[in-house]
């Protein structure tokens, strides 16, 4: 469990980083929080010849809340974003999901952008980026690309960034006022990657009936595609939902495509997708706390169901 030899680079600014990446090409890997990359190196599942450590690069550690979205720099740690009150007010899903990302010590180092570039189907933040119609800003010596979430994720553990590109920031979109959001996840142990997780954004009309419902999933789809549930539940009020159970099951069950592994069968994961979608729909239409984090009694109560 010692990594193969590599050359270590610690650039001081973005320009130097981009030049290094251009020069070193596919032989190099960016090192951000290291919470995914370092275990991979130690187990020699990858042995890049060069590591470009961006932790000393200036100007990448800011969270900026703008009308168009929440901009999260490449060195913003999960913990920083989780505690950022303006970000959570602007996009409640950030906090609702981030509290499910690993444990505090890992959130203290792991970066949100790193987890998006890592593109793990079991990661929470790719699903949030997708549901919020966010995008990633990729930069290389050749210029910038702004890639929407819908085309950023290419496959499991694979995004569209090329070897010479640095993901400079991820931008999470904001929902129109009145949108209710919720995040639910079931993991084997507290802090583990999800067996199944669901992010949901719901809008209600003046009469309290659903006008739009969209969901994205964790550990259930190869890439975080957004499922539009509106057709299945449009016009429904809280009281109508039990009658729509079959329809929701059909739509969600048809969308997700989980696999068997040693922790859970594909059938069980699919079942969890359906159960959690139901639960979120129930809670959000009823206007309850949709946090889904019942296991954290000491956490402050959130005003996250924005009506």
């Amino acid at each position: 469990m010692k990594p193969a030899p590599f050359v270590y680079h610690a650039p001081a600014d973005v320009q130097e980083t981009l030049e290094l990446l251009a020069e070193l090409g596919p032989e190099a890997k960016v090192l951000a929080g290291g919470q995914s990359l370092v275990p991979v190196l130690n187990m020699r599942l990858a042995s890049p010849a060069h590591l470009v450590d961006i932790n000393r690069v200036a100007g990448l550690d800011e969270v900026t809340v703008e009308p168009g979205g929440v901009r999260v720099g490449a060195l913003v740690r999960h913990a920083h974003l989780l505690s950022h009150s303006a970000a959570r007010t602007a996009q409640p899903l950030l906090r609702q999901a981030l509290r499910w990302v690993a444990h505090p010590v890992i959130r203290n180092r792991g970066t949100t952008v790193g987890s998006i570039v890592h593109a793990d189907p079991a990661g929470e933040m790719p699903a949030v980026l997708a549901l919020t119609d966010g995008h990633v800003l990729l930069r290389s010596v050749h210029g910038d690309r702004e890639v929407p979430a819908s085309s950023f994720f290419v496959g499991p553990m694979e995004c569209c960034a090329t070897a010479d590109e640095l993901a400079v920031e991820a931008v999470f979109g904001r929902f129109p006022p009145g949108t209710r959001t919720g995040f639910s996840e079931i993991a084997r142990r507290h802090g583990d990657y999800a067996l199944a997780g669901v992010a949901l954004a719901l809008r209600l009309g003046d009469d309290g009936s659903v006008t739009s419902a969209r969901a994205s999933f964790v550990s259930l789809t190869e890439v975080p595609d957004v499922l539009d549930l509106t057709d299945a539940v449009a016009g429904a009020t809280a009281a109508d939902l039990p009658g729509l159970a079959g329809r929701v099951e059909e739509v969600v069950g048809g969308h997700v495509d989980p696999v068997d592994d040693i922790h859970a069968s594909a059938d069980y994961r699919r079942h969890l997708a359906v159960v959690q979608t139901h639960r979120l729909l129930d809670r959000l239409t009823a206007g309850e706390d949709a946090d889904g984090t019942v296991r954290l009694p000491d956490a402050p109560t959130d005003q996250e169901v924005t009506a």
């Binding site: 469990m1 010692k2 193969a4 020699r44 079931i186 142990r189 507290h190 040693i262 922790h263 159960v275």
Partner: protein
């Protein structure tokens, strides 16, 4: 009077050092040492066609690259490793070589050792070794081993390593005549010890002294010393082994020599160097040891009250690729099945099977969790059949306190008869029922149901043979400065020995706990010892140290009596001062007694001046050191019990199962435990808590997921799920203290207690919540969800 510290919750003296990060674990030692890394088999079963090490030799910084052939130059290092614990049931003992010879029998088996400047270089070079394999079919799991379509070892037909049977009374006859008969098939999976620190060895060849100096992360430094001397062809006196701080053991560090021990120590000798190997986590998963897996078949006959009339059990035990540690685990299962119950008509057989997986050696509980699981699942099935209270069915079967000592009628793993020496099972059950609120549970269940919640309760009882011999020893030396040096040979992996042994010695000698300094696991200090396993540390070394302290005290009182011109019987020692009872002003401090005990020739310092032959009044009629005495206030003594003492306990679990998601939450966990008088209740509770945490891991989270080819799919902490603090509930404890007549302290072991009945208790609680028989553990939400669907399909087939 000094206040007694034994029985008080004295804080652990080792903790300030350990929690500050001042511990010295194996990897903290030998920074300049050469490092070893191993090329390990990627196949579960293969013939080695060819090994090409040329690529590795070329790597800068590589010192040696060894295959099996290279071991031939050193002692018997190239011979198969020893079978440590022969037993009549073992039909085909097969052990491995330190480096694989011609064949490999599990993924992870060591084939080539690289020794290099550091571990990084060693791993780089190891990666360049090319091994060509002829892959053979793998045998994985009990079913495949039993079917014996393929053999793990040609020399073990049917894959059978050992077969054992024992018959008490006439179980088949009694079952045939019983009003009720039940059969059960039970299954329990593998788990593993998973100490925070893996195994490791640092071996230094001292060319000037011609000695091998070893530090090892071990549960038995004397065992490792003897093993290395034998394998390397060294005299015992040329080998010393010291256990530094050891980051957990739980059983996996008892079986020596490991292949790496032999290879690394041989390399240190041959290269005349210091060589270190520290096991990494992946190595620990695929090349140390696992435990627990068994298939069990039960046939039980019982009467209308649930009284068991006859019990027939067949066990199939998966012992992995080799059998270095004998049949301790299945033998423990077989002999612990009767538990606290009268079992006069009992037949048990076990078949211990080879598979192409990591070897099986004891893990905390060592076969007993499987026994408790079998017996307690059976008790619950009996109660369910009769529609009776599960506690009541247990109670009618209990051995009664007035029947102690209760002869089990079976020979235990230590080769001696099993006799329950103490315990009051009805009293323990009453305590448990009160603690968990057993009789009020139906009201709670109804209330939960009204809230749409599903809850269940279960209990499990066990007895545990603890504190097995043959012996442990103590050595105590009182320095002239007042410091009390205590040494015992067994090793410490976090149990709190520094505290508890100091308490025992301090009380007996009449000194302060702070003045007592305990050393464990250092063969330079104590060459005779067995090791730390089987809940024996306190019973064996605790009693040895008590006896040693008595001996030293007697001598101190004699010397003090001479000095004070008093009768030793009139003296007492209080806070390190020997004084006349009732006339405490007539006194002499213990350090001065130590000075008097050592008549010296040279006056190095003030205390020595007082002790020189020329210092004081001389009695010309006596030699300076009396006959049958020795200089210095020090002595040693050994404790060897006639037989194992039996601790016992009862656990209850309350669980909630989510009706939709099948998630299982342990709401409450209650333990009633009887290890006799508690030397330190805080440490006993700590042991129970840690044990329960491991038990919960084994019940709900941990398994070793082998695929059909013998690849371990979850060989990391990412996928092998040990419970976090968030998964372990608050543990409620109560104690019964029935003393053991088998040792002067009256104590019984507590180290494994928490782990033994946990799977059984949780299985019972889940079964109670769900109304579905639970026959396979561990159980995860995905398993429970599948069981629910199968159960629903069986009961409402039209809905399928």
């Amino acid at each position: 009077m000094s206040t007694r510290s034994v029985g008080a919750p004295v804080q652990r003296r080792e903790d300030p050092r350990l929690v500050r990060g001042d511990g010295r674990y194996l990897d903290d030692l030998g920074h300049d040492a050469l490092a070893a890394a191993f090329v390990r088999s990627p196949h579960a079963h293969a013939r080695i066609v060819d090994i090409d090490v040329t690529g590795a030799i070329d790597v800068d910084g590589v010192v040696a690259v060894w295959t099996w052939e290279d071991l031939q130059a050193t002692g018997t290092a190239a011979d198969p490793l020893p079978m440590l614990l022969p037993h009549p049931s073992i039909e085909h003992p097969v052990t491995t070589y330190a480096l694989a010879r011609e064949r490999v029998h599990h993924v992870g088996q060591a084939i080539v050792m690289v020794v290099a400047r550091d571990r990084y270089v060693a791993e780089d070079a190891a990666q360049r070794v090319r091994v060509h394999y002829d892959v053979l079919p793998a045998v994985v799991g009990v079913e495949a081993a039993r079917a014996a379509e393929h053999l793990v070892h040609e020399e073990a037909p049917g894959n059978v390593g050992a077969y054992f049977e024992q018959h008490l009374g006439d179980a088949p006859g009694r079952i045939a005549a019983a009003p009720h008969v039940l059969e059960l098939d039970l299954d329990i999976e593998r788990s593993a010890c998973m100490p925070m620190e893996g195994k490791g060895i640092l071996a230094r060849w001292d060319a000037e002294e011609h000695r091998l100096k070893v530090h090892a992360s071990t549960q038995t430094s004397t065992g490792l010393r003897a093993a290395l001397a034998a394998k390397l062809g060294l005299s015992l006196s040329a080998v010393e082994v010291v256990a530094p701080d050891v980051g957990g053991g739980f059983g996996v560090k008892i079986n020596h020599p490991w292949p790496e021990d032999v290879a690394v120590a041989a390399a240190a000798m041959r290269l005349r160097a210091t060589v270190k190997w520290v096991e990494d986590r992946r190595e620990h998963f695929i090349s140390s040891a696992h435990e627990r897996q068994q298939l069990q078949h039960v046939r039980v006959g019982f009467d209308d009250d649930g009284r068991i009339l006859g019990l027939e059990v067949q066990l199939w035990h998966d012992h992995g690729a080799y059998l270095p540690y004998g049949v301790i685990v299945p033998l423990n299962t077989a002999t612990h099945i009767p538990g606290p119950y009268r079992m006069r008509n009992f037949s048990v057989t076990f078949t211990s099977l080879y598979t192409n997986t990591v070897i099986v050696t004891p893990y905390r509980g060592a076969g007993r969790p499987q026994a408790a699981y079998l017996m307690e699942r059976t008790m619950d099935a009996v109660a369910r059949t009769l529609g009776k209270d599960r506690a009541q069915v247990r109670a009618v079967n209990f051995v009664q306190p007035e029947e102690m000592p209760w002869d089990l009628g079976m020979v235990l793993q230590d080769g001696r008869m099993g006799v329950y020496d103490s315990g009051d099972f009805p009293a323990s059950l009453d305590k448990l029922k009160a603690l968990v609120g057993w009789d009020d549970f139906e009201a709670y269940r109804a209330q939960a149901r009204a809230e749409g919640r599903q809850v269940g309760i279960g209990m499990a009882c066990y007895v545990e043979g603890t504190g097995a011999g043959p012996y442990e020893g103590g050595h105590i030396e009182i320095e002239t400065g007042g410091r009390v040096n205590v040494s015992t040979g067994l090793t410490t992996q976090g149990q709190g020995h520094q505290t508890v042994f100091a308490q025992i010695v301090a009380d007996e000698l009449g000194v302060k706990v702070e003045d007592v300094h305990v050393t464990t696991g250092d063969t330079r200090r104590m060459a005779y010892s067995v090791g730390t396993w089987g809940s024996r540390g306190a019973v064996m070394s605790g009693n040895a140290l008590l006896l040693t302290a008595r001996k030293v005290k007697e001598r101190a009182l004699q010397i003090a009596a001479d000095a004070l011109e008093a009768n030793p019987d009139d003296l007492e020692i209080v806070d390190g001062i020997v004084q006349v009872k009732g006339a405490p002003t007539t006194q002499i401090p213990l350090p001065m007694v130590a000075v008097l005990a050592n008549p010296l020739r040279y006056a190095f310092d003030e205390t020595a001046r007082a002790a020189t032959q020329f210092g004081g009044k001389v009695d010309e009629s006596k030699p300076p050191v009396a006959d049958a005495e020795h200089p210095g206030l020090e002595d040693s003594e050994f404790f060897s019990p006639v037989r194992t003492t039996f601790a016992n306990g009862m656990h209850a679990a309350v669980v909630e199962t989510d009706p939709d998601t099948a998630e299982i939450t342990v709401l409450r966990y209650c333990v009633v435990h009887d290890c006799g008088p508690m030397l330190n209740p805080m440490i006993v509770e700590g042991q129970v808590h840690g044990g329960v945490a491991q038990g919960i891991g084994g019940a709900l989270y941990e398994r070793l997921a082998y695929d059909g080819d013998g690849q371990l799919l979850n060989a990391s902490f990412m996928d092998f799920l040990m419970p976090f603090a968030t998964e372990v509930p608050h543990i409620e404890t109560d104690h019964l203290e029935t003393p053991s007549p088998l040792n002067p302290l009256g104590i019984k072991g507590a180290g494994e207690a928490g782990t033994i009945p946990t799977s059984a208790a949780i299985a019972a609680a889940v079964e109670d919540a769900e109304g579905i028989p639970i026959t396979r553990m561990p159980i995860s939400p995905t398993d429970l969800w599948r069981l629910r669907r199968e159960h629903a399909a069986d009961h409402h087939p039209e809905e399928k």
